[in-house]
C-alpha cells in the first residue's frame, strides 16, 4: 500500500505548476478567455513541446505510455491553474476514442498530430434532448456506397468552437435510447454540411452546437466497429470522468488555499476574519471536504489501475461526493470573500463556475447516485 508518485509524475506535476506560475497567471488567463478563440495557441504549443499532450498515449502510438495516475497528476494541476485549454476534450476524449477504437491507419494519422498540437479534437455526443443519457441519440449515419451520410445535431460540444477534427456519436441502427446500433465517426470540422454555432460557457470554455446536414463520409471515417460504439465510449468516458474529478480536486484545493489566505489577511472589526471561531470551524469543514474528495479520488484511481472494469460504482460515488463537497467549498469561498467573491475580476467566482460545469459534465450527482444505487442495491 502506498500513495506515492513516481519521479516522473512529480516532474510533470512540478513543470505544470511552474508553467501556471510563470506563464499562466490570473491576468494572462483572463486575457486568453477574453480573446477571440478563448484559448491560447502559444500555451497549447508549450503543452506539446513539454510533452504533456503525449502522456496518455501508448508508446507504439508515439506517446509516453502513461497510466491513470499520470492523467490524474496532469488534471489536478490543470484544475489548480484553471487552465482553459482543451486537454480533456482534445487529448482525453477525442484522443482516447481514436486510441481505443482506431485502426492503425487512423491512429497513425491522428495521434501524432494530437501530440504535436496541430490537431485539436472534440467529441460530439450530447444532443438537445439527451441530458445525461449518452445512448439518447437521434443523429443518424446511413450507409451510402462505401461510406456514410451523417445527419443530425449535437450540442454543447466541448472545444467544438476551436476543434478541427471531431468524433461524432451517431446511430447506424436501432431506436432512440438503444445501446446497440451506435457508431463513431471521425469528421473534419470544415467538412461540407457541418455548421457550427459557437458560444461561451460560464467557465470560459468555447463550445458549439453543431448540425450535420447530409455530411458525406468515406468508409475510413468509421472508428471501430459499426453499431458497437458504446463499449468504447464507456471506457473513454470512464477514464475522462476520473480525469475530470482530478481537475475538480485541483480546483477545490486551490479555492481552499486562496480562501484560507484571504481570511488571514482580510481585516474586519480590527482583526483578521480568520480569527473568528465560527469561520475557523467552517474552514475546517472545507478542509475535510477537500481531503475526503481527494481520498475517494485515490481509491478510484487505485481500483481503476488494478482493473478498469471494477471501478464504476466508485466512480459514481466520487461524482456524488465531489458534487457535494465542491458546493460546500465554492459556497464558503464565495461567502468568505464577501463582495469580492462575486466579482468577475477575482478568480474565486471562476473556480466556482468551473466546478459547477464539472459537476454537470458526464452526469450530475443525482444521475450518478441513481447509478450507484442501481449497481449496489438492485434486488
Amino acid at each position: 500500500m502506498n500513495f506515492d508518485f513516481s519521479e516522473e509524475q512529480q516532474m510533470v506535476r512540478d513543470s505544470i505548476a511552474r508553467f501556471v506560475q510563470d506563464d499562466y497567471d490570473w491576468d494572462t488567463r483572463r486575457a486568453i478567455v477574453a480573446s477571440d478563440t478563448g484559448i491560447s495557441d502559444t500555451a497549447w504549443q508549450t503543452f506539446a513541446e513539454l510533452g504533456w499532450l503525449s502522456i496518455p498515449f501508448a508508446e507504439e502510438d508515439g506517446g509516453f505510455g502513461g497510466n491513470i495516475v499520470d492523467t490524474m497528476v496532469i488534471m489536478e494541476e490543470i484544475g489548480k491553474g484553471l487552465i482553459v485549454e482543451p486537454y480533456l476534450p482534445s487529448v482525453l476524449l477525442f484522443g482516447g476514442l481514436v486510441a481505443r477504437a482506431g485502426n492503425e491507419g487512423q491512429r497513425s494519422t491522428l495521434i501524432p498530430s494530437l501530440i504535436d498540437g496541430s490537431t485539436s479534437g472534440a467529441f460530439a455526443y450530447l444532443e438537445r434532448q439527451s441530458r445525461f443519457e449518452m445512448t439518447d441519440c437521434l443523429t443518424r449515419a446511413e450507409a451510402s456506397g462505401d461510406g456514410w451520410v451523417l445527419s443530425g445535431e449535437k450540442v454543447v460540444v466541448f472545444n467544438g468552437a476551436n476543434c478541427n477534427q471531431m468524433v461524432v456519436l451517431a446511430r447506424t441502427a436501432g431506436d432512440q435510447w438503444e445501446r446497440d446500433g451506435l457508431s463513431l465517426f471521425v469528421v473534419a470540422a470544415d467538412a461540407e454540411g457541418v455548421n457550427r454555432v459557437d458560444y461561451a460557457m460560464m467557465d470560459g470554455q468555447r463550445v458549439a452546437n453543431i448540425t450535420f446536414d447530409n455530411v458525406s463520409l468515406g468508409a475510413e471515417a468509421l472508428l471501430g466497429e459499426a453499431g458497437a460504439a458504446m463499449a468504447t465510449v464507456d471506457a473513454v468516458v470512464r477514464e475522462a470522468t476520473i480525469a475530470l474529478m482530478a481537475e475538480a480536486v485541483g480546483c477545490m484545493g486551490t479555492l481552499n488555499a486562496k480562501t484560507l489566505e484571504y481570511t488571514k489577511t482580510r481585516e474586519q472589526f480590527g482583526v483578521a476574519i480568520g480569527s473568528f471561531q465560527s469561520l475557523q470551524h467552517r474552514m475546517v469543514d472545507t478542509m475535510m471536504a477537500y481531503e475526503q474528495a481527494k481520498s475517494l479520488l485515490y481509491k478510484v484511481v487505485c481500483e481503476y489501475k488494478q482493473d478498469p472494469d471494477s471501478a464504476d460504482a466508485s466512480i459514481n460515488a466520487l461524482k456524488v461526493l465531489v458534487d457535494r463537497n465542491a458546493k460546500l467549498i465554492y459556497g464558503e469561498a464565495t461567502q468568505m470573500h464577501g463582495g469580492m467573491g462575486i466579482t468577475d475580476e477575482l478568480d474565486i467566482g471562476h473556480y466556482a463556475k468551473r466546478l459547477m460545469m464539472i459537476n454537470t459534465t458526464f452526469g450530475d450527482a443525482r444521475f450518478h447516485r441513481a447509478q450507484y444505487m442501481e449497481k449496489s442495491y438492485a434486488a
Binding site: 480590527g270 469561520l279 462575486i342 459547477m356
Partner: protein
C-alpha cells in the same frame, strides 16, 4: 388562530390581480428585458404610484398605502407569482423612510415627491473597499468648509450608481469616541463635481455594481439627515428596514413552480426528471422549508401589526429566506443540466438549448450576493445571538 381571508381581503386580492393583469403588459415586459431597463422600471413604478401602491411600508401621511400585514402579504404573493419586479429599493425602501423619520421639513418637501414619483433615482453609499461587515469602520471623510462638507473617499457595491441622480452616503465627520460615533448620513447629488463611477462586472457578466469615488466633492450642510455625528442611528434603522421582505418567499415559490414545469419537460433516458425520486426528494425538502418560512413570515407580519416594528427577529427571515432562495436557484440551475453553463449572449436562448436557462443563470449568479448584502448572514447570526438569545 386563523388564516382565512376576510371578504374585504379577497376583494383586495381581486383588485391586485386585475391591476397586474392590465398594467403589467407584454410591451412593458419586453422593455424591461431590453437595454431600456431604467426607463421601463420607472414607468412601471409610476403606474404603481398612480394607483397609490408605490409605498407599501410608508405611513399614510407621507403617501403610504396603509395596508394591513395581510394585504401586504397578498400583494407580494401576487406580484412575485407573476415574476413582476419589486420596487427598486434605494428610494422607496431605504432613503425615503430615513428622510421622513429623521429629516427636516425642507428635506421632506424636496426629496419625498421625487421618490414617490420615481423621477429621482437613488443609490446607496454604505460599504467601502476596506469595510464590509464592519460597516462602522468606514473611512470616507467629510470635512466642514463653511456651509459645505467636502467629501473624500470611496464607496463600493453601489447598485445602479450609473443610473443614479442622488446617493445617500455614510461619511466620517469625526474621529473622536467609538467608531460608531462620528458618522453622518448625508445626501449627495450625483452630478456634483468630483464624483466618479467605476463599473464592477459581477460573476453573471452584468454591470449593476459600481465603485463610487469622491474627490473633494462639495455638499451643502443642509443635506445632512438627522444629527451630525449621529448617522449610525440612521444607518441601523435603515438596515432593519432592508431586512424586511428580504426573505422573498413568494419569489422562491415561483422558482419552485418554474422548476417543476421544466422538470416535466426534461427527460433522461426516456424518463421525466419530474418522476425521478431523487429529484422529487430534493424538491420536497425545499417546498417544505418554504411552506414553513412562509408562516414564519406571516407570524412576523402579524406580530408587527400588533404594534411591533421589525426587530432582530427579522434577521431570521433574512438568513433562512436567502438560504432557501439560493438553494432554489441552485436546483433550477441543475434542472438545466449542461445548459446551466450557457453564458447569456445576444443569441436566442432557444437556439442554444432552452428558453429559460438564461434566467436561471442570472438568478443564480445574482443570488450569490443575497447572503452577503444587507448585513451578511454571519452578522445576522451575531445579531440574533446577542439581541434575541442574550448571548455575549
Amino acid at each position: 388562530m386563523d388564516i382565512a381571508f376576510s371578504p374585504d381581503e379577497l376583494a383586495f386580492r381581486e383588485e391586485v390581480r386585475a391591476f397586474f393583469d392590465e398594467q403589467f403588459d407584454d410591451e412593458l415586459v419586453a422593455r424591461l428585458r431590453s437595454d431600456n431597463f431604467k426607463e421601463a422600471i420607472c414607468e412601471w413604478q409610476q403606474r404603481l404610484h398612480k394607483k397609490g401602491w408605490i409605498a407599501a411600508n410608508w405611513p399614510v401621511e407621507y403617501g403610504g398605502t396603509g395596508w394591513s400585514p395581510t394585504q401586504k402579504y397578498i400583494y407580494e404573493t401576487e406580484r412575485s407569482e407573476r415574476g413582476i419586479p419589486g420596487v427598486i429599493p434605494f428610494g422607496i425602501g431605504m432613503v425615503g423612510p430615513m428622510i421622513y423619520q429623521f429629516g427636516t421639513q425642507e428635506q421632506k418637501d424636496k426629496f419625498l415627491p421625487g421618490i414617490l414619483e420615481s423621477t429621482t433615482w437613488w443609490c446607496q453609499g454604505y460599504s467601502e473597499p476596506g469595510s464590509g461587515s464592519d460597516l462602522a469602520s468606514l473611512k470616507t471623510k467629510a470635512e466642514l468648509d463653511g456651509d459645505h462638507y467636502v467629501i473624500n473617499g470611496a464607496k463600493i457595491w453601489t447598485s445602479y450608481a450609473q443610473y443614479a441622480d442622488w446617493i445617500f452616503v455614510l461619511v466620517r465627520t469625526s474621529n473622536e469616541g467609538k467608531k460608531q460615533e462620528g458618522i453622518t448620513f448625508i445626501l449627495v447629488d450625483m452630478k456634483s463635481e468630483g464624483i466618479k463611477v467605476n463599473p464592477i462586472i459581477s460573476i453573471d457578466n452584468e454591470h449593476s455594481l459600481n465603485e463610487v469615488e469622491f474627490s473633494d466633492v462639495r455638499v451643502p450642510v443642509e443635506n445632512v439627515v438627522g444629527e451630525v455625528n449621529k448617522g449610525w442611528t440612521v444607518a441601523k434603522a435603515l438596515l432593519a428596514h432592508e431586512r424586511t421582505g428580504i426573505a422573498d418567499v413568494a419569489q422562491s415559490k415561483r422558482n419552485l413552480r418554474l422548476i417543476k414545469q421544466a422538470a416535466e419537460e426534461e427527460v433522461n433516458g426516456g424518463k421525466r426528471l419530474m418522476d425521478d425520486p431523487g429529484f422529487q426528494a430534493r424538491l420536497a425538502d425545499l417546498e417544505i422549508e418554504l411552506m414553513a418560512l412562509e408562516f414564519t413570515e406571516l407570524r412576523t407580519l402579524a406580530a408587527m401589526s400588533a404594534g411591533g416594528f421589525p426587530g432582530p427577529e427579522s434577521s431570521l427571515l433574512k438568513i433562512k429566506g436567502t438560504e432557501l432562495q439560493q438553494a432554489t436557484q441552485e436546483l433550477r440551475m441543475e434542472t438545466a443540466a449542461y445548459y446551466q453553463g450557457v453564458l447569456p449572449n445576444d443569441m436566442d436562448p432557444e437556439v442554444l438549448g432552452h428558453s429559460w436557462t438564461h434566467e436561471a443563470f442570472r438568478n443564480y449568479m445574482y443570488g450569490r450576493a443575497a447572503t452577503i448584502y444587507g448585513g451578511s448572514n454571519e452578522v445576522q447570526k451575531n445579531i440574533i445571538a446577542k439581541y434575541v438569545l442574550g448571548l455575549e
